[in-house]
Every structure is written in C-alpha cells, then in structure tokens.
C-alpha cells in the first residue's frame, strides 16, 4: 500500500490530515527559547496573535531526519508498503534534505519528491496523489503523475509588507526590485521551486486584481485555491471572485501556517493553482 507523507508547510491542518489519511511532519517555530511544532503546538490564529503582540521575532527549523524516519518506519509495516513523501521546495527549506536522508535508510521504499512549491501548492500535489490512489493507480503511476504535476503548480502571494521576508533572509534577488523609499506590496510568484517577485503594487486592491488576472492568464485549471495569513477578510474578498471564475472547481481555502507565516508575515493573501495537464 502507498502512504502519503508531507510536511507542515503544506498548511494541511492536523484535523484535515486525519480525514485525508496523510501524515504531516511538523517543522518547528521558535520564539527565542520557546519552541512549537508547526500547527500542532501552535496554530495559525495563535501564531498571528502572537506576532501582532510584537516582541521577539520567530525563527523556524526543518524537521530532523529522525523525525521523518520515525514516521516512515511506522508506515512501512508490511513488506508491500511504500511511502511517497511530498515536500516544500528544497530551494526554500532543508526539509526535503532531512526526508531524503531518512529515506536512504529505508532502501527504495520511500520516494521523496520536491514539490517545487509551498503551502497550498504542496497541498494540491498531495490531494491529487490521493485521488490517483483512490482511482486505483499503482505506486509508480502515482509517483510519475506527482512529478509531472510539479511543473504545472503556481502559487501567488501578495504580501502586506516586505519586513518578514527581509528578516527571514529570504528576499534575495527580489531586494533590488522591491527595495526603495516607497512602501510597496510585493506580489510573489512561486513556481519551479523559486520565489520570483512578479509585481509590486501600492495597495491590496491592485494586487488582488493583478493576482486574479495572472490566474486567468494561466489557462484552464485543474485545481485552484486561496489562502491568507491572519486576514480572513481578504479571503472573503477573493473567495467569491474565484468561485465565480471557476464554478466547476472545488475551491481550496486555508490559512498560511506559522512556519510559512514567519516569512510571509500577517496580512498576506495568496492564490494557488494547478494548471490543467
């Protein structure tokens, strides 16, 4: 039997994970000495509330190889058991590295896959793999399909501020484009594993319009969703527009969790899509 494993940057809530039958390995969020398992000991609402209080800035760390190995061993009880482990882009986090090290201990029974994405993008791969399984696909087909889908994933995030990305050292080449005297809200595009500054806008209205226009340019979609960071009002602004644009799709909605939220900061609104193959 094939088991699906992912990590907490997929923003799949523990309750959802149980219902879906996937295992979510949490990353760690730290506020100084205080340490939380992402989504387990600290949920998104509590995290953003704490961010809003100010004080010490959070940091994050990837799971250890042992964290993965423990989960893998638990799942590989029968000789026919296999694991497909789908993770945040390795260009953004060392999580896949840990998963790969753990997998090497377990012969060929665990296949780690770099989603090249984050948050709802990872989630789309997980859900599609689950659908493949439910449709009776064999292990190799699910792995092949998952790898093929990666190039069709695009995630957009409109940040409220660059501060958190900057603080987390994740701004890189975007600096020159986004820096300067004026406050700009960056619209980031995450695809092929990398974060690319797609556009800069002066207010959310412009940013949301732009984001939805970019989705529309992406052509027919297989999956679409939207996520926010501590800003449910923004989600409610985007949700009806996406529902109207894609009436045939079930709209994914969610909140960006503590680890990704450490870099995105509060007040971000995003949209993710899996383009039709």
């Amino acid at each position: 039997m094939l088991h699906i494993v992912t990590d907490s940057t997929s923003d799949i809530l523990p309750s959802e994970a149980a219902a879906l039958g996937v295992r979510v390995v949490p990353l760690t969020v730290r506020f100084g000495e205080e340490q939380f398992r992402d989504g387990v000991d600290l949920d998104a609402d509590a995290f953003y509330a704490r961010l809003a209080r100010g004080g010490i800035s959070p940091t994050t760390s990837q799971p250890s190889p042992e964290d993965f190995a423990a989960v893998y061993r638990e799942l590989l009880r029968e000789p026919g058991d296999r694991v497909l482990s789908i993770h945040i882009s390795q260009k953004l986090s060392g999580t896949l590295q840990s998963a790969t090290l753990a997998a090497q201990e377990l012969d060929d029974r665990v296949t780690p896959v770099d989603s090249g994405s984050v948050s709802m993008g990872v989630q789309f791969l997980v859900r599609a793999a689950l659908r493949d399984l439910a449709a009776g696909a064999d292990v190799d087909t699910v792995v092949r399909n998952t790898e093929a889908r990666r190039s069709r994933l695009v995630v957009y995030v409109l940040l409220d501020t660059l501060t958190y990305l900057h603080r987390g050292g994740r701004i890189g080449a975007a600096q020159a484009f986004l820096g300067g005297v004026l406050n700009v809200k960056p619209l980031l595009r995450i695809a092929g594993g990398v974060v690319h500054p797609q556009a800069r806008v002066r207010n959310r209205r412009q940013g949301i319009d732009r984001m939805l226009a970019l989705l529309a340019e992406a052509g027919p979609l297989e999956a679409v969703g939207t996520m926010h960071s501590g800003a449910p009002r923004l989600l409610e602004e985007v949700r009806p527009r996406l529902t109207a644009a894609y009436p045939e799709l079930e709209l994914g909605t969610g909140q960006i969790g503590p680890v990704v939220g450490t870099y995105a900061g509060p007040g971000a609104i995003g949209a993710a899509c899996l383009r039709a193959g």
Binding site: A176, F177, G179, G180, V181, L182, N183, V184, Q198, A199, R200, V201, R202, N203, R204, R205, Q206
Partner: protein
C-alpha cells in the same frame, strides 16, 4: 484691431516710402532669427502670464524662448552663412534639439516647415517667403495629432494665408511679412472666440502670441534702414513692447506689459543688453545698525544697473541687476548682515546648467547594457530618489514649471544604455517633447508612456517587469496609470475663473487629474474637500510634501486627515517639488 495699429507704424517708417526688399539671403535670415529671439525674450513674461490655469505652470514664453535660442545658436554655426536654406536648416535642427514643452515642440515644427520651404534656395524672394510660411503651417499641423483651433496652429495658418495673399500683390518681403505679422496678432486676438478655456480664463493663447512675437521680431530686423547691412539691423530696431497699445487681455484685465517697471525689463532693456545676456537679478536686505544708505547706493550701484538701494540706518533693501552677483554679495556682506538673499539668472541659463549637470551625471558611470531601461522626468530630490529606488535608470530634471528639452531627454535615453527605453514624462506639457525622442535615437527603441503626473509616473514604474519586453511593459504601465488619482495642491498665482469657480490670487487650489476641483483658504480644508468628493474611498493615500513643507507640517496634515478617514492608509514622503506644497496620490 491689434493688427491695424501695428501695421500702421511698426518703427515709424511705412513700407511704401522705401525701396522694396525683393530678396533675402542667409545673413538676413540670421538677423531675422536673432531679432526674433530678442523680441521674444523681451516679451517672454507677457507670454508666460497667459496661463489658462492660475497655477504655477509650464511657462510657454520661456519654453518658446529656450527653443528659439537653441535654434539661433545652431543657425549661427550654419555651414553656409550666406545661404537662406543653410541657415534655416541649422535653425530647424537646433530648435528640435532644444525644444521644451508642447509649445516648443510645435515651434520647432514651424521652423522645420519654414526650412523645408526654403530648401535649395541661397536667396529667397517674397513669393518664396510666403511659400515657406505655408509650409511651416502645414508641417506644424501634421505634428499635432488632434489639431485644436484657437492655438498657435491657427495663428501660424492665418499668418501664412495673409502672407500668401500679400505676395500675390507685392514682391516686397517687408510687405509680406508685415501683413503676416498683422494677421498673426489679429488671429491671436480671436483665439478666445475659438477656445472656451481661453475665454473662461480671460486670456489669449500663449503659444499663438509667442509665434506672433517671433514673426514680428523677424520682420523688424528687415525693417531696418535698407542702407544698413542686414546683420546689424537689430541694433537699429526701436524697442517697443508687443501689445502696446492694442493688445489687451480679454475680460477687462490690465493691458499687457503696461506700466514703467515691466516695460523696462520687457522692452528696451532686453534688446539693449542682448550681447551680454540679462545678468542676475540680485536682491537682499542689509541689516544695520549704522548703515549709510547713500554710500551703499553709490558703492553697490556701481556693480550693476537697474539698481535700487533704499532704506535707513537699520535696514537697507538692495535690488541690482549685475553680471557678477558674487562680488556684489561679498561687498555688501562687509557692510552689514545680509538676509532674504535672492539671486535669479534673468536669462534663464539655470535651465541649461541644470540640464548639462543632469546629462553629465547621466553620462558619468556608463551603465551596464540592459534590454529595457526607463527614463523619468522629475523635479526635486525626493522624487528623484523615489523613482531611482523603483528602478528608473535615468532622471531628467524638470516638471510643471521647467520642461526639459528634447536634447536632455535624448541624452538620458542614450545614457540608459539599453536596447529599448520607456520615457515617463510625468507632466502633460512634457509628453510631446518625449514623443520626439524616438526619431532622434535610431539605435534605441523609445516609447513614451503618457504619464501626466508624478503619481502616475510612480504607478507606471511600479508596473515595470524588468524581464518583460517593451510592448508588454508599455501596455501594463498604461493600464496601471488608470488606477491612480493625482491631486496637486498649489496656490493661485492670479485671479481667475476656472472650471466654473472664482479663484483669487493666493487661494489654495486642488488640481485633480488636470482639473481644478476645489478652492479654499488652507491646505487641509482643500484636501478634505477633494477626499469628500472622491467617490470611492481610496485604500492608500500617499502624500508627497513639497520643498516648502517640513516633515512636521506634513505629518500634522495627515493626522487631521486620518481622523476623518480612519480606514485609509496614509504615507508621507519628501517629494521636494517646487510650487506645489503637496502632491497626493489616491489609490
């Protein structure tokens, strides 16, 4: 009516008493151009004062003057000084390079047309002059996408038509030009009947008057005594103010250029000192005690002319036109404490100095070659920093009150060292100039995104995708500028009626996307009135404070605005612009 007066006795000698002037060559054309320049300089302020809006505005007179000056400078270097065609061709090229503002661009096209009409002619006769005038009109019309009647175009056309009729009955170039000049002034007088904005503002068209003045100046050079060499004709021209006595502002305004003080500056003085330029108008106060006014008047007055030294032992006011303000200031500082010091270059050479500095700055570090560059026009250090921070490769100094020349834009475009360059004019009066650059830079693909304000320019620049191509970036920028509303807060420079509102000098006025919408007594109430009428409440308001507004004052304004608009996000930046205490962008 203006024409009739003018026609009667331009310099006290009527044309019929003299030998007809049947032909002119390059030297007479040069004299005509030089005389036109002096005449325009003398009347520059009159033309500047004809702004439709009572806001500190693009100075039509200065723009035309600087454009024509560039023409005259190049004409003086014409390869064949004796050839009318050669001189005029050089003038046309110079005017294009130096063209500033929409009026400057149109003037450059008038000169280009005139030059085309003279092509191949060493010397030209009366019929040829008439043909060249006709060509000037045709080329000018072609340069404007939507020609509007009641502007310089109408004046050029009607002057040309009159010149043509005169040439049919006379072979005297003086006669042809005098008729054309008379008709040009008459056409200027009619412009308020053709253009409602002029009628409402109580002015004649500034560009039209500028052209009439230029043509008149040209004609006056040929009016000189026929026995005198044509190139010296200018020296013989009796100074006389344009518009005197007939040219009056419609609507009961004061007669243009009347009164002794302006006459001194605009008329005789301008022509008399033309070889040295105007020098610097230097003003300051000297603080006592124990000042000897008479001694100061003698001592300081010797350092310049038009001197005015008045006051008492405690305080002396000094106003002197001098070519060396440094000496004057140093000397005065030895006598007392100086304050309210103001030095103004009356020949407006600071425009050129600024531009040269900008061009040198742009040229100094050769920028690495790139696919797509952006050149933006901006006044003030604040806006320069903002635009540079957003990725502009070059900034050309200029704006509402100082329009950059085509050459300044061209230099910045070349310095950007890119395959293609987008120009953001950020002012309605700079768009036409910017549009001329592409043809002059064959090695670069130049496009203009017609931004009419600094907020539009910033919005356009924000939409830049450095990896995208020229066409898609232009399209994206043009779409983006529709999403921002520009509010410019300034003070009325004269009484007026605009967009149905009575405006008094000194009133605070709000210009919203090029239209005056609110008039009031103070900045806050005017900004609040604009926001009350903004329709949909903006999400973000960016306040760019001008050179005269300190940080605290701007913050105070925003604190008050926030109270009434708690859901709006406010940002304050240092724009550094002159004349406009605040520029706001509503998004």
């Amino acid at each position: 009516m203006a024409g009739a007066d003018r026609d009667a006795a331009p310099s006290g000698v009527t044309a019929t008493e003299r030998e007809p002037l049947r032909e002119i060559g390059g030297r007479q054309v040069m004299a005509g151009l030089t005389s036109a320049l002096a005449w325009l300089q003398a009347n520059q302020e009159v033309v500047n004062d004809l702004n439709v809006f009572p806001v500190p505005d693009g100075d039509t007179g200065s723009n035309m003057y600087l454009t024509l000056r560039s023409a005259v400078e190049d004409a003086a270097k014409a390869p064949e000084p004796g050839s009318a065609a050669s001189v005029m061709q050089a003038a046309a090229h110079g005017s294009l390079m130096g063209a500033r503002g929409n009026s400057g661009v149109i003037l450059s096209q008038v000169l280009r047309g005139f030059s085309q009409g003279l092509r191949g002619h060493q010397r030209v006769d009366a019929a040829g002059v008439a043909v060249a005038l006709g060509e000037a009109s045709a080329v000018a019309y072609k340069a404007v996408m939507k020609p509007t009647e009641g502007t310089i175009l109408t004046v050029v056309r009607e002057a040309a038509a009159a010149g043509k009729r005169a040439a049919e009955g006379s072979d005297d170039i003086r006669q042809v030009l005098q008729t054309a000049v008379a008709e040009a002034h008459a056409a200027v007088e009619r412009t308020p009947d053709q253009l409602a904005v002029l009628r409402d503002a109580g002015v004649v068209d500034a560009g039209g008057l500028g052209f009439a003045v230029i043509l008149e100046g040209f004609a006056r050079a040929l009016d000189g005594d026929p026995g005198v060499a044509a190139e010296d004709a200018l020296a013989l021209v009796a100074p006389r103010r344009v518009g005197e006595p007939a040219l009056r502002r419609p609507g009961g305004g004061p007669a243009i250029a009347s009164g002794a003080a302006p006459g001194e500056r605009r008329g005789a003085a301008a022509v008399a000192v033309r070889h040295e330029g105007w020098g610097y108008c230097t003003e300051f106060l000297i603080g006592g005690p124990g000042l000897d006014v008479d001694a100061l008047r003698e001592e300081l007055g010797a350092l310049g002319d038009s001197s005015l030294v008045v006051g008492d032992e405690e305080l002396v006011r000094v106003h002197i036109h001098t070519h060396d303000p440094a000496v004057l200031i140093t000397r005065a500082a030895e006598r007392g404490r100086l304050s309210k010091l103001k030095v103004e270059d009356m020949s407006i050479q600071h425009h050129d100095i600024l531009e040269r500095a900008a061009a040198e700055e742009a040229q100094r570090p050769p920028a690495p070659h790139k696919a797509l560059g952006v050149v933006s026009v901006a006044p003030g250090q604040g806006f320069r920093s903002i635009l540079t921070g957003l990725g502009a490769d070059g900034i050309v100094e200029g704006g509402q009150t100082m329009n950059p020349s085509i050459e300044a834009l061209l230099n910045a475009v070349r310095a950007a060292n890119a395959d293609s360059v987008i120009i953001l004019p950020n002012n309605g009066n700079v768009i036409m100039t910017a549009l001329e650059v592409d043809a002059l830079a064959p090695e670069v693909a130049v496009r203009v995104v017609p931004t009419r304000s600094l907020p539009q320019g910033i919005t356009a620049l924000l939409a830049l995708d450095p990896g995208g191509d020229l066409a898609s970036n232009c399209a994206r920028m043009e779409e983006a500028i529709g999403g921002v509303v520009t509010v410019e807060i300034t003070h009325a420079v004269r009484d007026s009626t605009a967009d149905g509102q009575d405006i008094h000098e000194g009133d605070v006025i709000a210009v919203v996307d090029d239209r005056i919408t609110q008039v009031g007594r103070d900045h806050l109430s005017v900004v609040e009135a604009v926001l009350d009428h903004a329709g949909r409440e903006p999400e973000l308001i960016t306040v760019y404070r001008g050179a005269g507004i300190d940080e605290e004052t701007a913050e105070q304004l925003v604190v008050s605005l926030r109270r009434r608009h708690p859901d709006v996000e406010f940002e304050v930046h240092d724009g550094g612009q002159e004349h406009y205490p605040y520029i706001l962008s509503l998004e």
